[in-house]
Amino acid sequence: MSEPLLIVRDLVKHFPQYEQRILTKRQTGSVRAVDGVNLDVMAGETVGLVGESGCGKSTTARLILRLIEATSGSVIFDGVDVLNADDEALRRLRRQMQIVFQDPYASLNPRLSVREIVGEGLRIWGETADFDKRVGDLLDRVGLNRRFLDRYPHEFSGGQRQRLGIARALAVRPKLLVLDEPVSALDVSVQAQVLNLLVDLRDEFDLTMIFIAHDLSVVRQICDRVAVMYLGRIVELGDRDGIYTRSTHPYTQALMSAVPVPDPVHERERERIPLEGDPPSPLNPPSGCRFHPRCFKAETICRTEDPPLIERVGGHECACHFPEVSNVT
């Protein structure tokens, strides 16, 4: 196996909580949004990052692109140390790593025309030869009419805006595309269009993708490997079939069992693993295994000892003291 395209090691992001004083600030604590994430992404594969709100999946994405500064850890992209790159090196790196955002309304500058939005990357990198034609080709490629060049974002529907966001990211021909909940703001009928488009583009542009979502079914549709996150950590990591049919972490199992299946007969017979309460606050995560207060298997050791993410049963990595294969779908 070749060297991974992206290597993430012990990535940590703590958002300090401040109390404003007159001129200074005093730290009162910190939100441990991402707390030691390890992840390798091979060239050409699509890795899914799933978890509930507040588990740190979007923060992880922004850390990898260094849109926010990490507290500690390392990100190596294509052999280059992203977190220690100087401004100029970072700018060059960013051509190769692009991101598509969740909110199709907030992610496009309302004051710029489609030409300027999609072509922004070309302008930044001075590739202005055949500008209109290149932007037009990109529009074609994401299924939009090239006559839309002079329109403004508010004239488009949510699905079309998301296509614009994808075209903008592809303009600089990145190697890695990070998709942060790209379809969760879209209606179901439009979701499928965008997912299909992404699959097509992945093949055509040889993209490596990190796909972030809270919807397990969407991730299953598009990803080769899946990482399940809980409170800033990856708790289970494996290939798609492994995660979806032979998951070993109780959280993955509970999560999977909670997703309702659109089939009333099957759905009403399914066995469910009920979880008590809401996910705890990342401001003050539980001791030991972070999942233990909600875990149906928790024992004394779980309260005191944090299980490492290592390969256990089922052929994939799992951070649990009592991993067991189970199929809950």
Binding site: A192, S217, V261, P262
Partner: protein, 339 residues
């Protein structure tokens, strides 16, 4: 599957007939609800499914005269509930119905509960708005209700403000408020959409448990077909402000009739499907409802559209045992074989 499942016979609890509601916007008049008819029976869970802008929320707001003031209004139709027409009630009579006989819960409980009153205070105030109960007694009731929806330490929690609650607890608190007067109908507008799946499951359980216990009927508004499969007895699918299909839940999932419903079911990524390369997709985007033409709203996106679809809106066709579909192609044998 439940004891309270639709009994088939008997007069319906709520009979909505040709309900129409509009929104005035700068772009023009939006026909948000455009001739919707349905019945709700005693003790059943009726799901209204549709995408954003399909009119599912507007329908429920129209029933309780809660459309945004000065913008939205009911312009036609009737909604008969226990011998009274909800659309013709005076403001005072409507107020007596709201909350007490038909209650509603909303998607985002954080913004739907008052930020500056204690949660227990809000519940007891709501009780006292409808019944002459002393303050302390109403407070006790509020505590009991919080316990009933599964909030730990209800007595303590009643003195909290909503921002001190977690997402799941907020939704539970709102449910507690809605069931305080044991309403006959509970309208739940996307009650779980803003919640994480693990919490969503808990809240759905609470809702269904209460249905059993109090024998109320529920109108469940959602865009999530998984939630429908889990919780509903009957489903009505809306598209472009109109009802396009209605069936029992089993019937709808086993044998969807309208091309949109079929497309929706197929375009959904699901946990239990065989993984193929591509999802079946419905092309295009939902229609604008500003001054719509008489054409079938779905025709521009429909793979089976025919000339007639662009000319007139299809009538509602009954397809046996309370099921209905509005499609020119429905029941056409040649079309059936094509799909």
């Amino acid at each position: 599957m439940s004891a309270a499942q639709s009994d088939g016979g008997g007069a319906p609890l709520l009979r909505v007939d040709d309900l129409r509601a509009t929104y005035d916007t700068e772009g023009g008049v939006v026909r948000a609800v455009d001739g919707v008819s349905f019945e709700l029976r005693h003790g059943e869970v009726l799901a209204i499914v549709g995408e954003s802008g399909s009119g599912k929320t507007a329908t429920s707001l129209a029933l309780l005269d809660l459309l945004p003031k000065h913008i939205g209004k009911v312009v036609g139709g009737s909604a008969e509930f226990d011998g009274i027409d909800l659309t013709k009630l005076s403001a005072a009579d409507m107020r007596a119905v709201r909350g007490a006989r038909i209650a509603m819960i909303f998607q985002d409980a954080l913004t739907a509960l008052n930020p500056v009153h204690k949660v227990g205070k809000q519940i007891s105030e709501m009780i006292r708005a409808h019944q002459r109960v002393p303050r302390s007694q109403a407070w006790e009731r509020a505590v009991d209700l919080l316990e009933m929806v599964g909030i730990p330490n209800p007595r303590e929690r009643a003195s909290n403000y909503v921002h001190e609650f977690s997402g799941g607890m907020r939704q539970r608190a709102m449910i507690a408020m809605a069931i305080a007067l044991e309403p006959e109908i509970l309208i739940a507008d996307e009650p779980t959409t803003a919640l994480d799946v693990t919490v969503q499951a808990q809240v759905l359980d609470v809702l269904l448990g209460l249905r059993e216990r109090l024998g109320m009927s529920i109108i469940l508004i959602t865009h999530d077909l998984g939630v429908v499969a889990r919780a509903a007895d009957r489903v009505m699918v809306m598209y472009g402000g109109r009802k396009i299909e209605e069936q029992t839940t089993e019937g709808l999932f086993a044998n969807p009739q309208h091309p949109y419903t079929k497309g929706l079911l197929r375009s959904m990524p699901r946990l239990d499907s065989v993984i193929g390369d591509r999802l079946t997709q419905i092309p295009g985007a939902p229609p604008s409802l500003v001054n719509p033409s008489e054409a079938c709203r779905f025709a521009p996106r429909c793979d089976f559209a025919r000339p007639i679809c662009d000319e007139q809106y299809p009538a509602q066709v009954s397809i046996g045992s309370g099921s209905q579909v509005a499609c020119h192609a429905a029941g056409d044998p040649t079309w059936e074989t094509n799909t």
